[in-house]
Symmetry: D2
Subunit: 357 residues, 4 copies
Amino acid sequence: MVMMKAAVFVEPGRIVLDDKPIPDVGPLDALIRITTTTICGTDIHILKGEYPVARGLTIGHEPVGIIEKLGSAVTGYREGQRVIAGAITPSGHSNACLCGCHSQDGAGTRHGWKPLGGWRFGNSIDGSQAEYLLVPDAMVNLAPVPDGLTDEEVLMCPDIMSTGFAGAERGNIRIGDTVAVFAQGPIGLCAIAGARLKGATTIIAVDTVPVRLEMARRMGADHAVDFRSVDPVEEIMRLTDGRGVDVAIEALGTQATFEAALRVLRPGGTLSSLGVYSGDLRLPLGPFAAGLGDHTIVTSLCPGGKERMRRLMGVVASGRVDLKPLVTHRFPLERIEEAYDLFGHQRDGVLKVAITP
Amino acid sequence: MVMMKAAVFVEPGRIVLDDKPIPDVGPLDALIRITTTTICGTDIHILKGEYPVARGLTIGHEPVGIIEKLGSAVTGYREGQRVIAGAITPSGHSNACLCGCHSQDGAGTRHGWKPLGGWRFGNSIDGSQAEYLLVPDAMVNLAPVPDGLTDEEVLMCPDIMSTGFAGAERGNIRIGDTVAVFAQGPIGLCAIAGARLKGATTIIAVDTVPVRLEMARRMGADHAVDFRSVDPVEEIMRLTDGRGVDVAIEALGTQATFEAALRVLRPGGTLSSLGVYSGDLRLPLGPFAAGLGDHTIVTSLCPGGKERMRRLMGVVASGRVDLKPLVTHRFPLERIEEAYDLFGHQRDGVLKVAITP
Amino acid sequence: MVMMKAAVFVEPGRIVLDDKPIPDVGPLDALIRITTTTICGTDIHILKGEYPVARGLTIGHEPVGIIEKLGSAVTGYREGQRVIAGAITPSGHSNACLCGCHSQDGAGTRHGWKPLGGWRFGNSIDGSQAEYLLVPDAMVNLAPVPDGLTDEEVLMCPDIMSTGFAGAERGNIRIGDTVAVFAQGPIGLCAIAGARLKGATTIIAVDTVPVRLEMARRMGADHAVDFRSVDPVEEIMRLTDGRGVDVAIEALGTQATFEAALRVLRPGGTLSSLGVYSGDLRLPLGPFAAGLGDHTIVTSLCPGGKERMRRLMGVVASGRVDLKPLVTHRFPLERIEEAYDLFGHQRDGVLKVAITP
Amino acid sequence: MVMMKAAVFVEPGRIVLDDKPIPDVGPLDALIRITTTTICGTDIHILKGEYPVARGLTIGHEPVGIIEKLGSAVTGYREGQRVIAGAITPSGHSNACLCGCHSQDGAGTRHGWKPLGGWRFGNSIDGSQAEYLLVPDAMVNLAPVPDGLTDEEVLMCPDIMSTGFAGAERGNIRIGDTVAVFAQGPIGLCAIAGARLKGATTIIAVDTVPVRLEMARRMGADHAVDFRSVDPVEEIMRLTDGRGVDVAIEALGTQATFEAALRVLRPGGTLSSLGVYSGDLRLPLGPFAAGLGDHTIVTSLCPGGKERMRRLMGVVASGRVDLKPLVTHRFPLERIEEAYDLFGHQRDGVLKVAITP
């Protein structure tokens, strides 16, 4: 049995680099040799035990790599090809997929869909923080990297960029909209970039960290609101001349940001929520207009699949958006525990780390 | 000054029939002689002081009548014509109207929209429980009643039918969808009818009152769930083979119904909320899938305007839907206080009352 | 090699029953023993040589049957299960599928999509007019038939019903719309049923054959216009009080019907085209409003995949629509040449024939 | 009677500057003193007699000016305010407006909509190439110009920018789409800008005039195809790796451009047509996929109304788009006949002219 290095969840508080066998390749799978991967905020939830996964699972869901071996029934690819796969790996054949809800794939059973069913890497199967990754339903999920794009240029596509853009897309932003984005972590920053791409003409970024607000401006925000120094709701109402925003994007997962997003939303507007919440949410009566405000609230899980990846890499290749500045630190896989420590504590201005086996 | 009878809000707990002057007609207005009107659940909120309106205001927002006098700038109508107007009377010229959000009309100011701005009758101006009603922006709001339809046949169009159907429309029901409707008051019953019209093929009605569940079947429900005898969430999951519903419609305005609607919603589904809430709402973490379920939550205020009324009366005329059974009681305007008493206490199987001046 | 009977295209003018080997089952395939199938208008185009297919191909794309054998990689089904598959069999893994365009599947190549790529049975691979049918990408395409539905009750789901309903769905029919459907063959009749299900409240059927107009009324049409006795454009404008229709559905594939559909369309309306055309189409300047009428013209190929089939069978099971009257004749597979003769010449009031091996 | 100068249609071939009375102001009107206006391609159609208007009509539909006098029933504005009005001036109260189809306003009659009903200036009522302009339904149509924007910066909003952007919006361009725009006149150039704003990441401009192709690149095109030197269909298929485009925008109004747009469209794609055609159009069988390509064809008339204008001026104010380079020439109103001559013959690299009374 040939072995590889992998970052494994041992118990709450401990993700360690360990030796695991390189997986066998089933007929619909592909084995990828990872060249670059990264750590996500969700992985920190797993590390802390806030999101439960099986002990012994390899963590990570953001792979860039090279096809090492293709399953016997996989066509349309060749070994040695550079590819990425999305954080979410739909099967392509579930009822959920066939009605357009790929992220909520239902594991093929007759008896209902499980929310998050499409999220498998580092959740229900081994993930990408390893030397090798087994990609299920390879023909649905592998997207060749266009020539000329580096690993780091496409490293945000599998999750951060796909999720952040989904916030703008599901918010149904139209040309001329005013949009507020709450929290400027990597996903919020990508939501800013997505809102800009969709034609929002007034984009207001809210956060507390000056360097993140500065990055928000770089991604396309017109205004940066530091909510330690001003009340963000008052400030946004002032900036919009009392009108409120057409679309509010929540990118943190807390009551405070969700509620502020609702408070600045105009009647008929859309609150697009990206955050992962850790408790019940409250919809306050007044901002919710007692249920009579013609509001829309949407939540989104990261869209995956090779077509999504193709499009996102096309955005990168077009030069419309430059996400390279989000990669602030680099570590070899051997030092991933150190990377977890830095990223988990948000030290040293870290946004995203590149991990290279 | 010529006087008329009108049902007036005096103070919490008291709506009385009083004498008020027949209003003057401005250039864009029309004066309607009311032939039939009704009482809405919202009027009961006003009566109880739960929804604040000015003392002395005439209540009511569901008018059927005859044009008595047209404003000097109004064209396209003639005096003596039978008409209805929606509960919501958009101006047609606000920015809200011009971006398709007629119900949330903004009163023409530069400084923001007020939620519910489009609801004027019995809220910010005198309403329809009177002998005469002044309709503002008449060219936007007056819809001629097709020959052959009685007052009672179109009495549900201004509010109940428009709101209930909006629940189905905003829920984006598609052919073949499974839909649950929580609460079978007049609006819930119209949501059932609307869901049927939109092509839902499994419609589940939930309530506690047998006669209302029976009426729900008559309006098109396939299953009637009495939540005094079964747990509605368990029963709906059973009826859907564990799959949940594509669209859940809330038509009461309570935490219990809202939460049950969320619990039976499939990943990627839509919760369409019609209820008027009287307190904060809670989104429980699990059913909300921690914000990762690709859910959509929409709220709707009754759509108004003459084109909406034209379409709804067309539905009635087509015979596709028969809402006449919803009118269970009839009173002359003189006895409206008695009607409030009956309707407010939901005695005698009342669904809607017809009031005739 | 075990042999079976199959209806094979020999040359223009000749489809004959012949012996062919029962196909081998690949890892993603399923072999279905056909219990009922039918003949489509498209098959007649093939018979006449108007639509080219390879000589020796088995014709037919509307299968009802029983799983005989499952491929080694197929999960979620069992042999002996009653199933249908859509006329269109998407792979689930192409870029076309992953952006929601399943009917236009792209055969997995990097170099573009081929229109109609999703239509394989009786087009690019052997079809269903045979004792056995090999279904590719079985997990995407096999839909179990609910207990209690007969073969004939679900026989329209694979093509006729899916296509006709798509005409209503892609036309974006809303509650209260006025809809005209041109031509009352099986697809037009299903478009009537679909328009009714979507909430159209005035449905106008146009044809020349009294029995088909009668069937149109049975499927839900409010008006039947015989265009041998009246000018259909004038009649529809009269029926709509000069307003025109919100949605016009073309279900024949000729200049005359397409053009009439455009002529009765209101400004801002949608022309939903289902017909298969055999020559260039002309958009006349006036009805096209010189390109300034805010019109939408959509064309649709039959949607396929197991989720579509599940939903359509759900519609049948709900009793909302009864398509059994469309099956006017029945033949054993042995007499399929006779069935082609009857159906191709539209003799004896034939609408659809059931073929049973 | 106080007189003013106005450019008047006399007969085919002759638009001349003449004296006309300054119009009276009705209760819903506003009188605007024009400070800047321009000439549109449509005006050239009128000049040539290709589009019929009444003799004696003042031409022009692109006004920038100052409120001189408000009608007695107009509120929310003040005299002296700088405003623009859209080329299309919806009434706000027609059934067309109330179902969101403002451009196709129906003049308030019961008997049907007239296509183009919303286009009144220089079509059915006097237009903007004059010292004064009477704006009907002023509360629906007057949009205050934000401080800091010059006349020339907002001069494209009433028509060119609104129409060009509509091409992108109605084409439903999504992030990552590939878009081809046929013809780089002012509207095509604005369609390029609109496609860029909507998130298209590959934009291909087609024209024959090098300076226009150069301007297309400045507006956001990634590729410029000169169809005198290459076959545009072949070149676009090459640029898209055989895939075709997601959205094709036609901005000229000829068979050649419309047909090329259809030929490069991928299955399932959208052809968004902005051109004003002067003859019947032909849909060739192959590119139209015999009606089976899941194509969408949409046409658009310029969206108007004050909310549209507010949004477009917001886009200008945001700096996202700079349309000032489109104004290539300037004339006083006295020399408008000279301006018509230059613009009509497209001499001297003219794109748009600014006319100042």
